[in-house]
Each structure stands twice: as C-alpha cells, then as structure tokens.
C-alpha cells in the first residue's frame, strides 16, 4: 500500500522522481496509450451508447481505475512514486510551486499557449504530443484564462457538492440537476449564473490541452483527478449511509438503460465494477 501526498508537501527529490517516472512512461509510448484511452471513452450524453468516464454515475470509479492504471505503470518504473493530489481550493495561484520549473512547469505563452518551462516544455525534448487534435506537437496551457478570467472552485463550491447526500439522480447524465453529488462535482450542475463548477471548471482554468478529450497530455490531469478521487472519499465519509447509484441495472423502458453503469456492472476497458473500487484502502491512502 502506498500514500498519495498533497503535492504542496512533496520534497524536491520526490518531485524529481515523479516527473522522471512520467517522462520515462512517455518515452516508452505507454503514456500516449493512456491519453488515447481517455479520449476513446469520452462519450457525450446525446449519443445512445454506453458512457463510462463522463456525464455518468461511473465518473468516479472509472477515473479511480484510470489513475490506478497510470500509477501502476509509474511504479513499474520507480516503486517509490505515487500520484500526488492538487487541492485546487487552496493552491489557487498560477505561480504556485505546482507550476514551478522543478515540477509541472508554468503556463503557456500568450500567442499559441506553448508551455515554455519545466520538464514537459517541448523545447526540453522529452514531451512531444502525439495524440492531439491540433497541429502542435507541444503541450499547451492557459492558466486562469487571462483573456476571459476564470477562478478555481472555492471551498464553499466544493462543499456544496459534498453536502448532497444523494450520489446521483436520473437521468444519470450531464443534465441531472435535481441534485446528486456526482453531477455537482463533475461540474455540469451549477446555478444558472455560473454554469460550470468544480471538476469541469478546473479543466477550463488550466486551459490548453486540459480543455479537450486529450486532457491527460498534461500531467496536471493526474494531480487534478487524484483530488477528485479524494473528494469521493470525503463524500463517503460525510454520508456513511449513502451509496453508489444506480444500485441495480435500470428497468426496461428507461432511456438510460444500457448507457450507464450500475453498482455491479463491469466498466470497460478493465471489466471491473464500481462495487469493487468503492473502497481503496487495500491499495493506497491519502495523507
């Protein structure tokens, strides 16, 4: 069992080991295969197809498995490495240590959003984007979106999602606004004045690759989603009598039948059910 640490508490040596393992995964080609997996499983909710990763109840367990896959591959390179988490309600500055040269590097330049600093800057020669939808082979970011400023989610905004005692509600998609922790945290459900919250807003705040389907091209993706994973723990702790929904496959005639994952249905590509990953204490814990 290993510990996932808050990124702000990592020593320089730990940061170096983490980024070195990520670079090695990139060199081997395995990293780009993971990027493809994320893009492949992003199915929007108007499509009459199974949605496992987004706009659906399995948003949390699917990303838990996705992070575990990434972390397992990192640990094959360096057994002492784990995925750090970024608490975006407290480390809110585009110049915090997270974005320093010795960790993830900083924002992109204003013209083409090209990241110029840190280990993932294209010009360092170790980070060529191959799974993208633009012509650029360089990683892009636009921290805080200066041309149309956006703020990271506040502690109150996060708490608003955690306080909801119901895991998810029908129609189990991005339009589920009657309540539900999942859609409030994924960030499609929000007051009319704001439109986007929490997880979605963080993708927008980072900008560049992070706003698209190939978001994991930016290693910040993993630190963002480790915090999302930790938030699921906090929700479980706050509502010990609530559980994953839907608990059983949807009834015949329900428009979402076959399109969302119930508690005991397997999630591709791992063939693991949400029930099997409700508790991660045998695998890792958060500091």
């Amino acid at each position: 069992m290993h510990v996932r640490q808050n990124q702000k508490n990592l020593t320089s040596a730990q940061k170096k080991r983490f980024t070195a393992a990520v670079l090695e995964l990139k060199r081997s080609g395995a990293y780009d295969a993971l990027v493809r997996t994320h893009d492949k499983y992003f199915v929007p909710d108007r499509d009459r197809k199974l949605r496992v990763g987004h706009m659906s109840p399995s948003f949390f367990p699917w990303h838990r498995l996705y992070l575990l896959e990434f972390e397992k591959q990192l640990q094959q390179i360096d057994a002492g490495v784990s995925v750090p988490y970024w608490d975006w309600t407290t480390d809110t500055s585009p110049v915090s240590s997270l974005w320093a040269d010795d960790f993830l590097g900083g924002t992109g330049r204003s013209t083409d959003r090209k990241v110029m600093t840190g280990p993932f800057a294209y010009d360092k020669g170790n980070w060529t984007v191959t799974v993208g939808i633009t012509e650029s082979a360089f990683l892009t970011r636009n921290l805080g979106r200066p041309q149309n400023p956006i703020a990271l989610p506040t502690p109150a905004e996060l708490q608003w999602a955690i306080d909801d005692p119901v895991y998810d509600v029908s129609p189990w998609d991005s339009t589920a606004t009657a309540g539900g922790f999942r859609n409030k945290l994924e960030g499609w459900a929000a007051p009319r004045s704001e439109r986007w919250r929490n997880h979605n807003k963080v993708h927008q705040w980072i900008g560049g690759h992070m706003t698209g389907g190939t978001a994991p091209n930016d290693p910040a993706f993993w630190l963002h989603h480790a915090f999302v994973d930790l938030i699921w723990d906090r929700w479980q702790h706050r509502h010990p009598r609530s559980g994953y929904l839907p608990a059983a496959p949807l009834a015949l005639g329900d428009a979402q039948r076959g399109r969302v994952i119930a508690l005991d249905e397997p999630m591709p590509p791992w063939d693991v059910t949400p029930r099997e990953v409700l508790d991660h204490r045998g695998l890792y814990r958060y500091e």
Partner: protein, 121 residues
Amino acid sequence: MSAAAAAPLTRRALLRAAFTAAVLAGTGAALAPVLRARRPRQTLTPAPLAEEETYRGRHIAVDAAGVRIDGRPLHVMRRADGSYLSGINHFQSYPTPLELARAAVDELGTTQLAFAAPHHG
C-alpha cells in the same frame, strides 16, 4: 483496435481528406451533397444552414458538413440538452455551433487544428 472500430475512422479520415482537397480546389459546393449524405449523425441538426465569419483573424464556417476553422474540421458533439461540445472544449458546452467555434478559436490562440484528429470509440 478492432477492424470494426477502425473502419469508420478510416472512412471519416478519407472524407476529411476529400473535403480538404475539394476546398483547396474550390469544388466544395460540388462535393457538399455527397458529404451530407455520408456524414455521421453526430454533427449538426437544425441550426442555420450555413454561417461564416472572421473571428480574431480566423475563418469560421458552419454548414451541413460541420464546423471548420480556417478550413480544418472541428469535431462536434452534442449534450443531452442539445448544446454543443467540441474536440477543443469537452468540459463546457455552447448553445450554437458558431459560439462553439468562437470558443475553440479563443482556446487555440494561433494554433491550427489538425486535418485528421483522433475520435472517440
């Protein structure tokens, strides 16, 4: 990837290549009915038939064949509420394809879309 999954990607890529060649040769109008007929249904439904504009120096075109920025296709998807998502913006949606295209330009800066991009499985 299975052959079944690969086939539509290839066809789409070919369509893109054909469309691009047509635009470059100035025969887009002649090919348009063919593209409309064979285009996957994920793209556009009612919306205005054709719109184009220059936004921040980039050429945006919206028509039955989809959304293009400087002649390059922008992958468009729909949410259950009918709003639009794109390959550039997966985590927020827009009421119309034109607003979607402008948001993509905002995010792209001076970068160009690729002619052929990866797609969801």
